[in-house]
């Protein structure tokens, strides 16, 4: 039995997996642990076998690489052993077509992990909220955001934020690690606490005003909102602070509308364009298509 301790990212797993496979190490003889786990894994870890120079290049389907890259970000650490089992089946085992077997229980677990991580990646893109930080030196605007991802997705999401916000300086701070863009380079630093991040931005008054006005009180669907924007995200969304107020006030607002006096018609204003529309109506063909 070998205990392999790796940094929790795809490259580290890939290197370890290649070395183990070169030694024909069966999945049941390997115990995987990630280095950020506290204690044990580290102390009793075995030396990773060196990858022989003539190790054959491993050919695996692209879909597997993509799956592995995404689930690598899963915080549980349970993905490493499962990935190695699938890799083993494909290269040394007797089920080379395992990837197309959608009912394999290990693959299904990995697929579920992928779905969870993908959702987290997507929600980070959606719910990061930048706050402007005024500095005197820079002529560029500086923005800082605080986000608490469920999984280790900061690096996966970096290209997205870099491409989108290339024209401004920004940092995204998380408890795991922080990413910074200064207009030309991405850098990473250690995770921080929430108190380091700015706690307000004057634009938020406008954003809350918009959120309040775009809400239609006549079609309250609170569950629908919470399915897509679960409460766990609310604490870092400025607009979430008025959700309660909007819900509570909605019934009254609608009542008021229903009791409103119906407005009489106002006369058609004198306007050349309206007159032209009238003429057009007269010559337009009847709407034959609707039959």
């Amino acid at each position: 039995m070998k205990t392999i301790s790796i940094e929790p990212h795809f490259q580290a797993w890939r290197n370890a997996a290649r070395a183990l496979l070169a030694e024909q190490c069966h999945p049941s003889d390997v115990l995987w642990s990630a280095k950020n786990d506290e204690g044990d894994g580290l102390l009793f870890a075995d030396e990773l076998p060196a990858l022989p120079k003539d190790a054959p290049r491993l050919k695996v389907p692209k879909t597997f690489v993509r799956l592995a890259e995404t689930v690598a970000a899963h915080r549980s650490g349970k993905q490493w052993a499962l990935l190695y089992q699938i890799l083993w089946e494909m290269s040394c085992g007797n089920d080379r077509r395992i990837l197309s077997n959608q009912t394999d229980s290990r693959l299904r677990t990995l697929e579920r992990m992928r779905a969870t991580v993908s959702r987290d990646i997507h929600k980070m893109r959606a719910f990061v909220r930048f706050r402007e930080v005024k500095t005197e030196q820079s002529d560029k605007e500086n923005f800082v955001a605080w986000f608490e991802p469920d999984h280790l997705i900061v690096r996966i999401n970096t290209p997205f934020f870099r491409k989108r916000f290339a024209g401004m300086n920004w940092s995204i701070l998380t408890p795991d690690e922080c990413v910074h863009w200064d207009g030309s380079r991405i850098t990473y630093t250690d995770g921080v606490e929430k108190s380091v991040a700015p706690d307000s931005d004057e634009l938020e008054e406008l954003w809350l005003g918009y959120y309040r006005s775009i809400f239609n009180p006549a079609r309250l669907k609170i569950k629908m909102m919470q399915t897509e924007m679960p409460k766990k995200y609310w604490k870092n969304l400025p607009e979430a602070e008025i959700i309660e107020e909007l819900i509570t006030g909605s019934g009254e607002q609608v009542q008021a509308m229903m009791h409103e006096q119906e407005r009489p018609l106002k006369p058609v204003p004198r306007n050349a364009y309206l007159a032209k529309l009238n003429e057009m109506d007269a010559i337009d063909e009847p709407d034959t298509e609707s039959d």
Binding site: L206, I222, L237, M257, Q261, E285
Partner: protein, 440 residues
């Protein structure tokens, strides 16, 4: 009036438009270092309001002053709503500030009709032009288009926008005549046809330039158009809505038709009394629309002359299956993919998975459980290795009773507390599980 007050009026004026898509724009980003923005991937919903609708774009009107008198609309000229007007520069500033804070994917700009169609269209275009050319904004832009605006202006709008839309509002001309006398289905279809031609033409031109490896700047044009219809404002049947949707998808390749339940507004018209919005009906229309686009159902299969409205109690796919019991049970190990699409409870994705999987082995109930198929709904309609429902074991009406919710009120009733009814709850659940993921 300060910016906040204007924003509140002009966002309130825009909220009855259901369109929120921010996906499918041409791929672009700000890697060059000028400006901000990126589009091209899946759309992102940056927030959700308590009405369950996503907030993806800054959705505002340039002005809510309007010459038209559409009776379902809060901005019609007969309404006493407070009027406001943004300058193009103000909208540009708001869009950029919101975008840089990651509140939005971009801008959805519409406007009341002031002075004339062309004059209004020019103002709207000016905002998009400033964003794209002066500020190098690469985010998403959706522009509302006025069918009566000149073709040159529509072409210019398309140059800056990712999406154009014209709302048909109501499926038939006779309804428009009553409720939106300035609007005209014929002219709207003409304009949609022009836009569609430009979209197709631009795709062809870009392809040609790519083929010749030309360095010439490729022409840009919106990649899609959409529209909206208001449900429940007049006596139009669901079959009218679906027929119009079929017309627009088929003839002008619309990306989306949105259905918006007629919702109470603070400025009711004498022509159109307020009522609570028919949310379940709206939901059924979306389901039927989905069946037309992804499951190859025809309008005439979903509704008929005898029952021109969709069933409110059960979804349109189940409803079709119950009306066509002779087609079932379908053998999922032998039947072609198109037949699997017809089985209630089985979505496009799982149907495709089954077809792939059955090359390995015959499909059993256990496989379906692993694929997380809704067995309760599926089993009466299909055959697999270890399951064979006795033909017509249950009659259609018995099955219907099994799936339909107990009879309760179907629409939200404002006189009661805002507690959701059973139908309402099922609907929300289904909307989450089914409509959004296309699995039902």
């Amino acid at each position: 009036m300060n910016t906040l007050e204007k924003l509140e009026i002009l966002a309130d004026a825009a909220k009855y438009d259901a369109s929120c898509a921010s996906s499918g724009g041409a791929r672009k980003d700000s890697t060059s270092g000028k400006g901000v923005g990126s589009t091209g991937g899946a759309g992102i919903c940056h927030s959700y309001a308590p009405d369950g609708r996503c907030i993806s774009l800054l959705k505002v009107l340039l002005t809510n002053v309007c010459l038209y008198d559409c009776h379902y609309c809060i901005n019609r000229r007969s309404s006493n709503v407070q009027r406001a007007r943004f300058t193009p520069e103000e909208v540009v500033e708001l869009t950029l500030s919101f975008y840089k804070r990651n509140y939005i994917e971009g801008l959805f700009l519409s406007s009341g009709i002031v002075r004339s169609a062309d004059y209004t269209m020019e103002l709207v275009i000016r905002v998009a032009k400033l964003l794209r050319e002066k500020h190098h904004f690469r985010g998403y832009i959706h522009l509302k288009t006025i069918p009566e605006a000149s073709p040159e202006l529509i072409a210019e709008a398309g140059k800056y926008a990712d999406r154009l839309s014209i709302n048909v509002e109501l499926p038939k001309q006779e309804s428009l005549k009553k409720l939106a006398p300035e609007k005209n289905v014929h002219r709207t279809r003409e304009a949609m046809s022009t836009i569609n031609a430009r979209i197709t033409e631009t795709i062809a031109d870009r392809k040609e330039l790519r083929k010749r490896k030309s360095k010439a700047k490729k022409p840009t044009f919106a990649t899609g158009q959409s529209t909206q219809m208001i449900v429940g404002a007049d006596g139009s049947y669901d079959s009218d809505f679906l027929a119009r949707a079929g017309d627009l998808y088929g003839n002008f390749k619309l990306r989306r038709v949105y259905y918006s339940a007629f919702s109470p507004i603070p400025e009711p018209s004498v022509i159109l009394p307020l009522k609570s919005p028919p949310l379940v009906r709206e939901h059924r229309l979306y389901q039927a629309d989905w069946l037309m686009r992804f499951y190859h159902y025809g309008v005439d299969e979903l509704t008929s002359a005898e029952s021109p409205n969709l069933d409110l109690d059960i979804d349109p796919k189940l409803s079709w299956a119950l009306r066509n019991r002779h087609t079932f049970p379908i053998d999922i190990n032998r039947s072609p993919l198109e037949m699997l699409y017809r089985i209630p409870g089985l979505g496009v994705r799982n149907a495709k998975r089954i077809v792939r999987l059955r090359r390995h082995h015959a499909i059993t109930l256990e496989d379906l459980i692993k694929l997380r198929v809704n067995l309760k709904k599926t089993m009466p309609f299909m055959i697999c290795t270890n399951h064979h429902p006795a033909r017509l074991e249950l009659s259609s009406s018995e099955l219907r009773a099994k799936f339909a919710p107990p009879p309760t009120q179907l629409e939200m009733d404002f006189t009661a507390q805002p507690v959701t009814t059973t139908v309402e709850k099922n609907m929300v659940k289904q909307a989450g599980v089914e409509a959004l993921h296309g699995e039902f």
